[in-house]
Symmetry: D2
Subunit: 346 residues, 4 copies
């Protein structure tokens, strides 16, 4: 559990019942020795990550301090979110829904919130098929300034209204501090989109907000950069992080992106965080969403994020990759069989 | 089934019982009108692909010719291997094993044939776990001229000897015309590796050889280029083609390649050919082979190509991605459950 | 200059002497017809970009309005920054330095502002070699929360103090609204880094700020996405945009990124904006900065952004790609010869 | 020049006047100690590369052998083509033209040989503009089996006939052993195309042929793989290798490929071989060929490979990227100025 002399990078495991004074004493000891130290509490663990090139702190010194369970040399640049931080798989709770446990969690809904009718139809459809979390974008980061940018706060009211009616939790994307402030008033989980995965100030802000976060992988982010982005959130104390693989950008253009499904078992080996998959953005093609949803579950994903629209042909964004309620229902049924085959429930 | 006037690219469906004279009459009609025409027979279909910018041939003219069932305008540059060529899914038979049918086919064995002991242990292990085809490389295309280049014909004797003992069919990679000539004396199926996917002369030679072919996708080949490579084989008359997705080269280096699993359902929609997946080369990591094998089957793959070595630590090549017999056995069992969940057998 | 009936995307060229009333009348006409309309003024042009699927406005109607010079159907999703918006090459002025004119502009300095001594030595060195703009990071978007994050406002004081002493203009990166507010108090030009190229809210904020902007291309941004990011800035009225190619992410890892130099003449054909090149981040290797600087000028770049540190071995960030003052001096001399060879000055 | 004990990888520098007996004694000593040994002679050097995990040979033993000048531990997997193999820059002579010396060499001509008139017009145009080598494809590796595949031997007769008239050397692509055999009867230099860069049997065959080789980089080949492909050629004794950067495959599709110009100075640092650039295939756009030609020379390229067609609109392949004689003449003039600016001649 420790080496004689703690290295330049380490993870300090604290007792989950440690007092504030005990925590502060450990942090102070690290900082006074020239370390950067960051703390994360939640999901069944209480961890301090330290990094730096100050003088090394002898492990026994740290291990003898009250509240300290052990000191581990960190082999990766991420510490708080690493598998080494112990405690088994994290289970993140959002609006009463557990992500990362035995049950596969389906988050579904339209790309953009458009109308009350659309949201009610969507909520009804996804709820009937077994989804537990309703998604819907109100702040849309669009490539063009001339494109529809979302209904903003009005959209969140429609999202939560529809979700409440069908007992669903909610998730929506935030794009800056003002949109985060508004989202925190309405939704159970906030999403950081692919384009903002390295918007470090936004990551720190959602870290401080303490609300569960769905962190999408950037279009060309390596697995390590993705986990470092999660470390930014965790380093503000927020342990409620769910990672979302949504396809990377490669030379292949016959699908919208290239779904990097191998990243799912890879990341689950490197980190204790839950991982879900977004087959809709990854493929950009309705006909591939079903097969890739099944594949994601077979590969070990903890959940799915699927675009469902009551009438995909009329969707204001991403229609070609949105499932109709009937298509979604079919996928959800097939999913259940695969989940059982790999020892999960859905 | 036809337009009034056949376009510049077309697929002519022939009756499978057409005579040679009937075929030649159709080919001649096409060529004399300025078309390039190619014919493929097998896997339950008899098709002519035509392409060119000669004068258009009126469809009725073609449709009225003896043996012609129908004329379809081709919407893609590949014709013989396209889904449009009709006849449902192709089932390719190699050494008595059917690939593309209901049953998931596992091809397994070591990267390189090394010794009789190694091959017998490998054959025994993969056979026990339910694999039907034994793989083993005797002609190795290595990045360095200083690396082990394979046992050549001697290796093929070891491969087939071990396979016969356990009732397995065989597949091995060929790298040029001489190695193809040798391989044809021994194996049931020849493999075109990723680096030779656009070695068009080799593709034509395996096309003429008529033996079933396992065609790996090139490291940076688009789906369309991959299907065009298959078209090269088919255009020499050989319909026994099995496509193999083995990962593409992207910016992500935490896995050896990026397994493009979405290509499986995509290609099955575009082509009638069977598609298998090689999770060993795709990921390069033993621990990811299992999850990605399950994911491949869930995504609709018709089979798997898995590296198995009796003692991976001593393998002359690709040890880190080879499964031990015990690991392979475990994957094979899990695979069966997923296959059943998606309506297949394994 | 116009079609009978303006299409769904158009560029309205206004007289640079148009009154506010004339402008508003045109904008209102567009918006009332269901268009999104955006205006940009500066760099010798006064343009309105319009996009939408409302009813088409007959061109003659628009062309007859006071202040309107012409109406052009837009063939690309970007309008204000497109070459079609007329007026020849933009020349952007930052702190008295013209970018986009005949003279190649060199922006140089350290990755991060560290100490007064470092900044003075850097300013002296780059000034002596002929650079006109001093760069230095005070807000650092670092991959790891444990890395040095910059001196913030204190750093900007050091940057501007050193620049003033040697008559240099200044540029620094901003990462969010607070850092932008601080930067506007000190520097002549603000930089949007690669990771924030699609942080649309930040783009809009620098658009509104009206200060010249150095817009780096995102790690995996297409040329079109890059120009759309520029359109976001322009659409808030700010015409002072300089594009910076800094390498894209590819499979090749022997250089830090792959410098996409073809993008320079390509973008100059598509847009009126000046383009500069950052060979330091692109290659990540000191020894390649010189050759690629020369190549950039030969390819048509309007300037260079080069990392120079008084003592690269001690740099807090990006030391391996920073030039020493002596190395930089040598590159600057060679650059002059190439600039002259292609009809420019440096 | 040597370590006490030669490592597992080494380069043995031989006196260029060594006798066959001396050479064989050294090779035997290496092989009997368990090494793979490969020899290359030419371009002013005589080198043996050795690799293996046999028992180490003490350097003094080797260094004392007749003919041996020195023994160097090899730090890279390529040895014969590495910069460490000494002897300064290689100059490769093809048909009397020196590539790799002070003078920039231009190789130009059409993608495919089509007619006698076309070839004479092409030869005249490129000769007038100062090109020294005429290119023209007679064996075309086309993505589609339905595309024009080249005039084969007849084409080579047209190529050499036209070249002779204008005093030009010749280069053509070979795609397999039969086409190599034919090409050796006609041309001064054979080209290995991007798709065949890892067709190791073909590399070995051109190595044995002894004719100068133009080795194009593969579409997704790393710099190291490209140099290993050159090592395959060199390891058969052929030192007449010229590397050609022709763009790599990335996510960016606004150009045909992404010209990796940084690879030019990088490779020239790693290897003694000359490097030329093909801006035609790299960009796929006529308008970018000029700027990227200038950039290539500024970056340190030893030559250029440019597609020129008497009438690009009628070209059977690659028309959009071919220059007309007038456009080519203009580029050649501009090139001269840049060459002089970087201390070269053209």
């Amino acid at each position: 559990m420790s080496s004689d002399q703690a290295g330049k990078n380490m993870i300090v495991l604290m007792d989950t019942g440690s007092s504030r004074d005990q925590l502060e004493a450990v942090m102070e000891r690290l900082v006074s020795s020239g370390f950067q130290a960051r703390m994360m509490r939640g999901a069944g663990r209480f961890v301090i990550g330290a990094s730096g090139d100050g003088e090394a702190v002898p492990s026994p010194d740290l291990e003898g301090m009250p509240g300290v369970i052990g000191v581990i040399p960190a082999t990766r640049p991420y510490k708080l979110v690493s598998r080494e931080a112990g405690g088994g798989n994290s289970v993140v709770e959002a609006g009463g829904v557990e992500i990362g446990g035995c049950r596969i969690v389906i988050m579904a809904g339209p790309c953009a919130v458009e109308t009350p009718e659309q949201m009610h139809a969507a909520a009804r459809a996804v709820s009937l098929a077994g989804a537990k979390i309703l998604r819907g974008g109100a702040f849309k980061p669009r490539t063009s300034p001339y494109s529809f940018q979302g209904l903003e706060e009005e959209g969140l009211k429609l999202l939560t209204g529809a979700a409440r009616e069908y007992g669903l939790a909610t998730v929506t994307e935030v794009v800056d501090l003002p949109s985060l402030d508004i989202a925190l008033k309405y939704v159970d989980m906030v999403q950081i989109g692919a384009r903002n995965m390295q918007n470090f100030r936004l990551l720190q802000a959602v870290g401080r907000a303490g609300r569960p976060v769905l962190l999408k992988r950037g279009l060309s982010a390596t697995v390590e950069e993705w986990l470092m982005a999660a470390e930014y959130i965790a380093s503000e104390g927020n342990a409620g992080i769910v990672l979302c693989e949504r396809g990377i950008r490669t030379f292949e253009t016959s699908t919208r992106n290239t779904l990097d499904l191998s990243a799912v078992p890879l990341v689950k080996g490197l980190s204790h965080l839950p991982v879900v998959v977004d087959p809709s953005h990854a493929t950009g093609m309705r006909g591939l969403v079903g097969p890739m949803s099944l594949a994601a579950v077979a590969a070990g994903a903890d959940g799915l994020l699927i675009e469902v629209h009551p009438d995909p042909r009329k969707a204001l964004c991403d229609g070609p990759q949105s499932l109709s309620p009937e298509e979604f229902q079919k996928v959800a049924v097939e999913l259940r069989a695969v989940a059982v085959a790999v020892g999960r429930a859905a």
